[in-house]
């Protein structure tokens, strides 16, 4: 499943995208996130995968683009290329 977490508003599209078929739930992305917005949880079909915590879904656009400058970020540490983003 491709899960889009985020929103589109007047200033652009801010989605953190998780491919839950690629995610093996290792949690490296969760550890590396400096803002603690990610968590591992079972999806509706019982597979434990990474997701954006509910309370951060609507503020992704203010939080996540800053990580673009970091070498170690959720999407870059994932060995399975399970994460991507739209900014």
């Amino acid at each position: 499943m491709i899960a889009h977490y985020g929103y589109a508003d007047g200033s652009g599209e801010y989605y953190l995208i998780v491919d839950t078929d690629r995610c093996d739930g290792c949690g490296r992305c969760v550890e590396v996130c400096p803002n603690d917005i990610l968590e591992l949880a079972p999806d509706d079909y019982g597979k434990t995968v990474v997701r954006v915590k509910d309370e951060f879904v609507n503020s992704i656009g203010y939080i996540c683009p800053a990580c673009k400058r970091r070498d170690e970020r959720c999407e870059s540490v994932c060995e399975h290329a399970a994460l991507s983003y739209t900014w």
């Binding site: 899960a3 889009h4 589109a8 509706d44 609507n58």
Partner: protein
């Protein structure tokens, strides 16, 4: 087998009782400030119609905004998975679903079993939601139920530059002051809303067949505009507001069958 799905949405709560694979009864009520009380009230109302009591139900799955506060639910599942499951049950050929609810819009793509393949939602922006149209109806002093039909009688669509509910409301007021026909304003609003949800649908990719669920599916004006953009006819349930609760009930049935 008797199971139920309960969908506590931001504006309305729905409960549906499934007997084997047949819908036995359902109820829809406004969601009050007391979500737990609302969940009991809507469930009791559906049970009454089915002439059953809560003890007769073998499994209950809750979904929607308030899914975690339903005290009698055995399990909760996101509304995304429930809408996909419910829509494919009603229309087996459906692969893309647009759910236009009280306070958010979701675009969902699923497989033949109703399992979600791709989803995107927008609950930050109220454009194209039930609440948006309630405010437009209030602003234009028209009954909510008549918005869709009236918009179809428009000679031309007025230009609405923002689908933001706050800005759209002031744009509508400005147009009304200028004497623009209400029907044309409504057509313009539907156009702006359709453009927004089309972008959301393109995020997940559109595959036929296409269904619209949620309360806005009752607004024929919005449905026509979305169909124009998507290029597909929208399949709409007889009661589009209960698709999420139906999906939840189907998950309940599955949970029982797995045991």
């Amino acid at each position: 087998m008797l199971v139920a799905g309960i969908d506590i949405g931001s504006l309305t709560a729905k409960a549906l009782i499934l007997e084997d694979s047949k819908i036995r009864a359902y109820a829809i009520i406004p969601t009050g400030v007391d979500s737990e009380g609302t969940s009991k009230k809507v469930m009791n109302s559906a049970l009454e119609r089915a002439e059953l009591s809560l003890e007769d139900l073998e499994y209950v799955v809750s979904t929607g905004y308030g899914r975690v506060i339903v005290p009698f639910a055995n399990k909760n599942i996101t509304e995304i998975s429930c809408h996909a499951k419910g829509a494919v049950f009603l229309f087996p050929s459906v692969r893309t679903i647009l759910d236009m609810g009280g306070q958010d819009c979701k675009a969902i793509r699923c497989d033949a079993s109703g399992k979600v393949q791709n989803f995107a939602m927008n609950d930050k922006c109220a454009a194209g939601t039930g609440r948006f149209f309630e405010i437009i109806a209030e602003t234009m002093e028209l009954p909510l139920e008549e918005l869709g039909g009236l918009s179809l009688e428009a000679m031309s669509a007025a230009k609405i530059s923002s689908a933001c509910v706050v800005f759209a409301k002031s744009e509508v007021l400005a147009l009304l002051r200028k004497g623009v026909d209400k029907k044309n304003i409504l057509a313009g609003i539907n156009e702006a809303v359709a453009l927004r949800v089309f972008a959301l649908l393109n995020r997940v990719g559109i595959e036929k067949d296409f269904a619209i669920t949620g309360g806005i599916a009752k607004n024929v004006g919005v449905v026509r505009k979305v169909e124009e953009k998507v290029g597909l006819k929208a399949l709409i349930a007889e009661e589009p507001q209960i698709v999420g609760a139906l999906g939840a009930a189907l998950f309940a049935k599955e949970a029982l069958e797995q045991v």
